[in-house]
Symmetry: D2
């Protein structure tokens, strides 16, 4: 199970008056990581939704290790930690491109749901694709 | 046609590294103003959507006059400038509560659309409620 | 040690295409809760920063229990779980006003730092105010 | 004076319950366009701030032409429309990569200010770099 990687730059809008990235924005970086990880494994999340398969975040955790600033080039590394019958847990590390400093690491657990929010099983082919 | 008024406080997340509110957040304050203006006139936007009436922003303009900082108490004053067969233009002023300094003023024009995004007429009773 | 309480309404901007509040926005609700909790105890965070005392988020965790939608009136209940020499951990519950449904609960741990980001002790009077 | 170009993908967080990008997020795309335009001309905005030269947004305008959805690949094209003694006006077009549909176009005017927010002249070398 290989890690996925995506790069971006810190937007000015993502900073706060401490001069660093506001902490909630790391969850958006996680989302970018998850999106590219899934696309790279042939199950793009936008395609899943078209098939009526939704993944809803039910739990997040994040530890902040160092600060990122406006225009910093950052890397998000994503892997899947665990799948259950109806959930998948992703793990993320956000690094500064220059020097490779670890900025933050965390996890999100997503539950598989139908369009109406009701739980459903994670399709076997999705679970397989995500953990290969 | 009376102005509507709503109050809020600047969130830390809304500031940027210049130490002031990032400019795009004023559009969220405008949205708060619009939401309360409509509710006060008996046509809450959340009810309109339940009836299949959507208002999509097609144009915005904003001039920034003074800066707001974290935790500043602010007031959003909203009025309707104009309605056409299928659009409504709101005008907003955002003021600092202390001293009444004008922070920003602007307009948004919204087009009435169906759930699928196709244009439709603004219902007469909505236009009437908004301009009374 | 009493809980603090603050109320707000879900903004349209805070929803996503699933029709519910996007998960990272709960961290902004937590921030609102923390801000009002501190103000109510006489140590407004904006005043602390003026004295060179900064609180930087070093860890967050959140579990999502039910969905919130546009215009829902919500309540954020905040308490302090723990303080150490240089950190404070807040606990939050976000509830739907109508019916009191628990939407999310979580914690954030903040480290006391100087303007340059270097660690410093949490002043005794701040720790006392927060835990009374 | 050549246009600058930068590409990104719509984040899930940027959509709203209409299933499309929430309108204020286009101002963040504009900011991305501005950042890359300036970097490409040798006056990266992050470097300007280090020299005490700040550009504060004083006016924005945007027209929305078509909707963008989650995961759409988009292109932001940026040019400078005008400079005055103390301001610079950027013009932006946001396009869908697939098919080149125009999604939105707009302008932002930024005033050159000192760290304390007081106006100052736009340095000649910056004005020259931006308009070449």
């Amino acid at each position: 199970m290989e890690e996925g990687e995506v790069r971006t730059r810190v937007r000015y809008a993502e900073t706060d008056q401490m001069g660093v990235v506001y902490h909630s924005n790391y969850l958006l970086y996680f989302e970018m990581g998850r999106t590219e990880y899934m696309r790279a494994r042939g199950c793009a999340y936008s395609d899943l939704e078209k098939q009526g398969i939704y993944l809803a975040v039910i739990e997040v955790a994040c530890r902040y290790r160092a600060v990122a600033r406006y225009d910093d080039a950052i890397i998000i590394r994503t892997r899947v930690d665990k799948t259950t019958r109806a959930t998948v847990t992703f793990h993320y590390r956000v690094l500064k491109e220059e020097g490779g400093t670890l900025l933050a690491e965390g996890t999100t657990t997503l539950a598989c749901v139908k369009k109406d929010g009701k739980p459903r099983a994670l399709p076997r082919e999705v679970a397989d694709a995500l953990t290969t």
